[in-house]
């Protein structure tokens, strides 16, 4: 059995940043396991720009952002096994993996960092009626075909869902010569970034049909067209609004799901809302010594935030390996009135160094509301927000001094309040 201090599962932006920080925090024995032939994860196919403004103060493309972290991993001589599929993790932190060179690998880790990322929600998860013809892909699959394999998956395209990948692919397919006939969104708002609606749809006159969905797919061998229809506020189809759009391709951009099959095997508790592990402010799960960061923890909008979070996970895993013991009590962060969840879910007040970032999302679009933070009955933060949308992750920073002035805090609440 191989032994490492820290094993990182996944060599995408989260895993690379966590490994780098763990090494810089004094841990020598680190192994990164990656199932693809290359490090970098999904960034390798995200060839558009807009990455890294927070981290590097410049705008990079996905592959450029990834390469900076790959270089940092190489400079630090951190061991990586590529083409390696992790099959199992136990709560005693024994990892079983397989690859073509080593065969079956059994690895004992002192700490594990989960950084497996997320997957796209497929057609089967949203129950679109109609033919099961060729020409239906998730937006990310189409992105891989075009940007890595150099093939166009279709010529006349309808995109269901207006998440960022769908918006980016609307532009990408247009540039490559396809006609994108519509982006269809079930909700009355897009879950994508506002700038992507501007630069990916409006720039190319691609219609965004809000409160619409696909109700039928026609075509025996290949997609020949889709029927779309308007929905009411309960997302029920409004009769008489049906519209047939001839097309040969339907792309789905209908959400991302953290990929936690391995976490489940290790008895890691998962949140029903995020689909990711429930963690404390050290990004440690309910299983001692198993940490999580990046999109496996909760789906992020920006890789910069993934990097920041993953540095934190790497640092905390290093402290764990060095024998840090958590002292004091654990306080739960509760949410209400439009705030759907927080990451982390628990805070150990005695542990807070300078401050902790609490990330969260809201359930619908709000205008002119306040984000309020209560320590028990005490209102400690009251921040005005002009606009809040489900597509944009929010942050509140809780400082050490807040915890020092509320030594007996038993409950923290994050909520929205009207003016």
């Amino acid at each position: 059995m191989l032994e490492y201090d820290i094993v990182v599962i996944g060599g995408g932006p989260a895993g690379l940043a966590a490994a780098i920080k763990a090494k810089d925090s004094g841990i020598e024995s680190i192994l990164v396991l990656e199932r693809e032939v290359k490090l970098g994860g999904i960034l390798n196919q995200c060839i558009h720009n807009g990455f890294g403004l927070h981290t590097f103060k410049e705008e990079l493309t996905g592959p450029e952002y990834a390469q900076r972290f790959i270089d940092m991993v190489k400079e630090r001589n951190i061991s990586c096994k590529l083409n390696t599929m992790v099959l199992d993790i136990t709560k005693d932190k024994v990892i079983t993996a397989v690859n073509g060179d080593d065969g079956i690998l059994v690895i004992k880790a002192k700490a594990i960092i989960l950084a497996m990322g997320c997957r796209e929600r497929p057609r089967g998860a949203i129950n679109i009626p109609g033919s099961r013809s060729a020409g239906i892909y998730t937006a990310g699959t189409a992105q891989k075909f075009v940007n890595i394999d150099g093939y166009m998956p279709g010529r006349e395209v309808v995109i269901l869902g207006s998440g960022d990948i769908g918006l980016i692919m609307a532009r990408r397919m247009t540039l490559e010569g396809a006609k994108v006939k519509a982006v269809v969104e079930l909700m009355p708002y897009s879950s994508g970034l506002r700038r992507n609606i501007a630069q990916c749809l409006e720039d190319y006159n691609i219609p965004l049909k809000l409160s619409y969905t696909v109700i039928d797919i026609k075509g025996k061998e290949r997609v020949e067209g889709v029927t779309i229809a308007q929905v009411d506020k309960n997302r029920k189809v409004i009769k008489g609004t049906e519209e047939y759009i001839p097309c040969d391709t339907l792309l789905l951009s209908v959400g991302l799901l953290p990929e936690n099959e391995l976490s489940r095997k290790a008895s890691v508790e998962l949140s029903k809302i995020t689909g990711g592990p429930v963690v404390d402010d050290n990004l440690e799960t309910n299983v001692d010594g198993i940490f999580a960061c990046g999109n496996v923890l909760h789906v992020h909008d920006l890789v910069d935030f993934v990097t920041e979070e993953s540095y934190h996970a790497g640092e905390e895993a290093a402290l764990y390996v060095k024998g840090r013991i958590k002292e004091g009590k654990r306080v739960e962060i509760e949410v209400s009135n439009g705030v759907r969840y927080t990451v982390p879910k628990y805070v150990n007040p005695d542990n807070v160094d300078k401050l902790i970032n609490i990330r969260f999302r809201v359930d619908i679009t709000y205008k002119n509301v306040f984000v309020s933070v209560f320590f028990d009955q005490d209102l400690v933060m009251h921040i005005k927000k002009k606009v809040m949308a489900p597509g944009e992750m929010e942050t509140v920073k809780l400082t050490k001094s807040l915890f020092e002035s509320h030594k007996d805090v038993s409950k923290i609440l994050i909520t929205l309040e009207e003016e």
Binding site: T61, P63, E64, Y151, L175, A198, D301
Partner: protein
């Protein structure tokens, strides 16, 4: 006076900009939270520009294409012309990140650079 409402594309925040124009000249940009927004608002109403990202075919490489970008923003009206140039272009592996793929594309003064490594197979 003309007023245009824009969403800034300078960063993921996506500020709502209000640009006031008089006789085609920008007199005021509001709603931005940094200098990028002011410049974007001004440019967008006078000479809109974009960074273009795409791919070019690679011969003998580990992947069939390599990702590329315009190293600076180029006039929005030239996007499709530049894409046509990229479609005509073939490079030989190896390609390294930062390599110039096309110098001064279509006389814009902007180079096309590789954004990924593509090793020789």
């Amino acid at each position: 006076m003309e007023i245009r409402q824009l969403v800034c594309i300078g960063c993921p925040v996506g500020c709502s900009l209000k640009v006031e124009l008089q006789d085609g000249k920008v007199i005021k940009v509001t709603g931005n939270s940094c200098k990028i927004g002011e410049q974007y608002g001004t440019n967008e109403c006078t000479n809109p520009k974009r960074i273009v990202t795409s791919t070019v075919v690679v011969e003998g490489g580990e992947e069939r294409v390599v990702s590329v970008k315009t190293e600076n923003d180029i006039p929005k009206g030239k996007i499709f012309d530049i894409i046509e140039e990229l479609k005509k272009t073939k490079v030989k592996a190896p390609v390294n990140i930062g390599d110039i793929i096309i110098k001064d594309v279509l006389g814009t003064g902007v180079n096309i650079r590789a954004t990924k490594n593509n090793r020789k197979l």
